[in-house]
Amino acid sequence: MSTFDLLAQGLIAALQWQNLLYALIGVTLGTAVGVLPGIGPALTVALLLPVTYKLDPAGSLIMFAGIYYGGMYGGSTTSILLNTPGESASIVTALEGNKMARQGRGGPALATAAIGSFIAGLLATIGLAFIAPWVVRFALSFGPADYFALMVLAFVTVSAAFGDSALRGLTALFIGLGLGLIGIDLQTGQTRLAFGIPDLLDGIEVTTLAVALFAIGETLKTSSDPAQINTQFTAIKGSVWMTLEDWRRSWASWLRGTVIGFPIGAMPAGGADVASFLSYSAEKSFSKKPEEFGHGAIEGVAGPEAANNASAAGTLVPLLTLGLPTTATAAIMLAGFQQFGLQPGPLLFTNNAPLVWALIASLLVANLMLLVLNLPLIGVWVRLLTIPKPWLYGGILVFATLGTLGANGAMSTGFGPVRISFELVLLLAFGVLGYILRRFDYPIAPVVVGLILGPMAEQQLRRALAISQGDVGILLASPVSMVLYAAAAAAIIIPLIMRLRGKGAVLGQLASDED
């Protein structure tokens, strides 16, 4: 069957009212958490995992993808109006977007972000639909050694290309890998690093770690950081609509952002934040009015916002076709697939084709819903920003502990009549870890990706070595793995050069760390 037929069938499935409802819930929640500073799509999906355990797999996954897309839309609103990015991919948007808002052009800034996100999301989702079958065909020939090389590449791009220091990125990754060791080894049944605690035999739950790092860690950091406790909110003044001039200046930026963002998400060459940074510097060099950059140039909002949405769609290519998560949200979505007994990868496209195509098609539907939700209803979302912080973060912690208890509420330890939920103790411990990571500028995503991808990488490594009877040479034997290792090396070296050059220009105020 051709891609068109598959996509058409997917669309029919996506347009069933249950799936439309899941998509609507997803994009609404996604926009809300994208708008609210401090919570993002990764945390929301992690919190919803236990709740969706008993729901329909296709519907739940459609909802998760809607949250991911919605988060990318909502993040721009916070960046533009609050100058505090809702998530890392919107940092660049704040540079020009907040300047525009202060000049009373917040409306057009929000509009160009929303329309740019729509166009990028649309084109990139179509890109996903056409590239995915091709990658699947290619991936079916992969051996364990190739998969291991692919995961090494993912480790490198997630940890070394993100953030501003390869040293801190890799440290975060290895903390995740170390946590992934805990529990019973699946191949031999041997217990590793459980220290005699029965609760640790099953390993660390991805959701517990993600909720702790994102919700508790963020709450602790926000409450203690004097710079974050008072943020200025710029109200929208003037017209919400873009002028003809705005349209003329935006359309090429949207397309350029899409072209930059999609491959970066798909390859995987980094996350949405990398894509938006690159798009920003591209817009700066393409612009006919470079002098406006830093003073509210609309291209500087249009390009990066298109790029981060295109990159989010691109991220789904390795996730669906190879089972390879390259962002924290993708890592948790992978956990979501596993919860339903589904393993993303080439076989998913043959064994669960209707589900995959319904998911891809529903992204197109979700994208349209997001445009409607974000343009006329922008005032509703803006009101979310006025929730006082004590109530907002109190509520976040209530839901964080609720989700953790719902996933694993066993009161397994304790003393006397007081029984203690071990999972909540872990949540607290990882929450403190999350605060420390934030305080010392360690990225969070590599920890989550390391925890979920570490055991998978180990499995492939041992499988490869078992085939070769212990000969390490097999790891480099195939051309595919050699190309992947070369790409991994490039992923360490290129950002190093970029950090020294491009980033100095883009974010001059941040210190560069050459380690």
């Binding site: 508790i216 109190g394 839901f399 502990t401 609720l402 719902g406």
Partner: protein, 166 residues
């Protein structure tokens, strides 16, 4: 963010050194625990100990790198964090953990909510804890009754859903 660094260029970053020590400590624990594992000879080559050794070795190198970075002041400047809110929020989480089995979800989580609000400068506790408990009960009702999520039940939940204390 580099401003002010020139003055203490030669003084190593103490906190970063502590992080380096912790990373090295974790590596030692992994090495030690893995060496205690008894692996059958068949699995010796590609058994369950290979990956832990790889991770621990990586952590050793990262600890060294962190220490070097500490001496070269490679860490970005840190904000002057106020630790009082952290004590409140962590205290709230600990209180919730201890109260859950006896007081039930709503009351324990109400305490967490109140303490968190206090951490963000909103009080007084005798108002915020009951408000949090009401909120937690509504959430409990939706998720435990509506979505069949298994959540700890206490006095308040039983009283409000069945009308009895038992």
């Amino acid at each position: 963010m580099n401003t002010g660094n020139s003055g203490n260029m030669r003084r190593p970053d103490g906190a970063a050194l502590v992080i380096a020590a912790i990373l090295a400590g974790i590596a030692v624990v992994i090495f030690w625990q893995t060496s205690l594992m008894r692996v059958p000879p068949v699995q010796q080559r590609v058994g369950p100990t290979v990956f832990p050794y790889v991770v621990a070795t990586g952590l050793v190198f990262l600890a060294i790198g962190t220490a070097v970075s500490a001496f070269r002041n490679g860490f970005p400047a840190r904000s002057k964090d106020d630790f009082r809110p952290i004590v409140w929020i962590v205290g709230g989480l600990v209180a919730q953990i201890l109260l859950l089995s006896t007081a039930g979800f709503s009351i324990a989580t109400g305490v967490l909510f109140g303490f968190t609000a206090k951490g963000f400068g909103r009080g007084p506790l005798w108002k915020t804890i009951p408000a949090g408990a009401v909120f937690a009960f509504i959430v409990w009702f939706i998720f435990a009754k509506g979505l069949q999520l298994s959540l700890p039940t206490g006095v308040l939940e039983r009283l409000l859903t069945t009308g009895s204390f038992q």
